[in-house]
Subunit: 120 residues, 2 copies
């Protein structure tokens, strides 16, 4: 078995140092990369994706979302919280009812990009 030291492995025969230098100069910092992954993680759940797509057409209250998606109010509420924290949806209160809608147009564009990728 070869050594598994992540820093020193195969440094003679395979590593292409010129390319590594290039990449290191232009790579986003680790915090940005983590934030990026975090955003996409929010899109990466069926329930949340269904909520977002449903909100393409119209703002909806929690109760309507639950009925549409055939899920409990609690499950929807938990997911809406994640979507709101990550600024994918925004909330508007009207009496007892809270209406949710897409936060901005990036959400739409990101999802459309995903669809394009699926159907390429």
């Amino acid at each position: 078995m070869q050594t598994m030291d992540p820093v020193e492995q195969c440094d003679v025969l395979c590593v292409h140092d010129d390319r590594i230098d290039l990449v290191n100069r232009t790579l986003p910092d680790e915090d940005t990369l983590a934030d990026l992954a975090e955003v996409f993680k929010v899109f990466g759940d069926t329930t949340r994706m269904r909520i977002l797509c449903v909100l393409f057409e119209s703002e909806l209250c929690v109760c309507d979302l639950a009925k549409l998606l055939q899920m409990t109010q609690s499950a929807i509420s938990h997911q809406l919280r994640i979507l709101k924290t990550n600024k994918l949806v925004k909330a508007r209160r009207e009496g007892k009812t809270v209406f949710y809608s897409l936060d901005d147009d990036h959400v739409r564009k990101i999802i459309e990009m995903g669809l394009e990728h699926l159907y390429e």
Copy 2:
């Protein structure tokens, strides 16, 4: 405690049937929604996002990726498999070495959209 039946809840006071009809006519089918979430799930991991961003500049072999990201060859290989299965990267063999690169321009665009969302 209120009833939790997902189909029949709060059907008198809250549900906005006109909006629900509108949404149901335009919502992508469940398979598409699941595939969409699946794609974004692939972007939603720090290691895979780091791999993708590193591949922005240049194709790289597994060994270089492991060195760059300070991770074991095995961990990188497992993640590359997921990226390849979902058509985010492609592989090119050259002797013992396998070079990976971004599969198409959608990957770039999707990540750029994510960055835009972060910095809005």
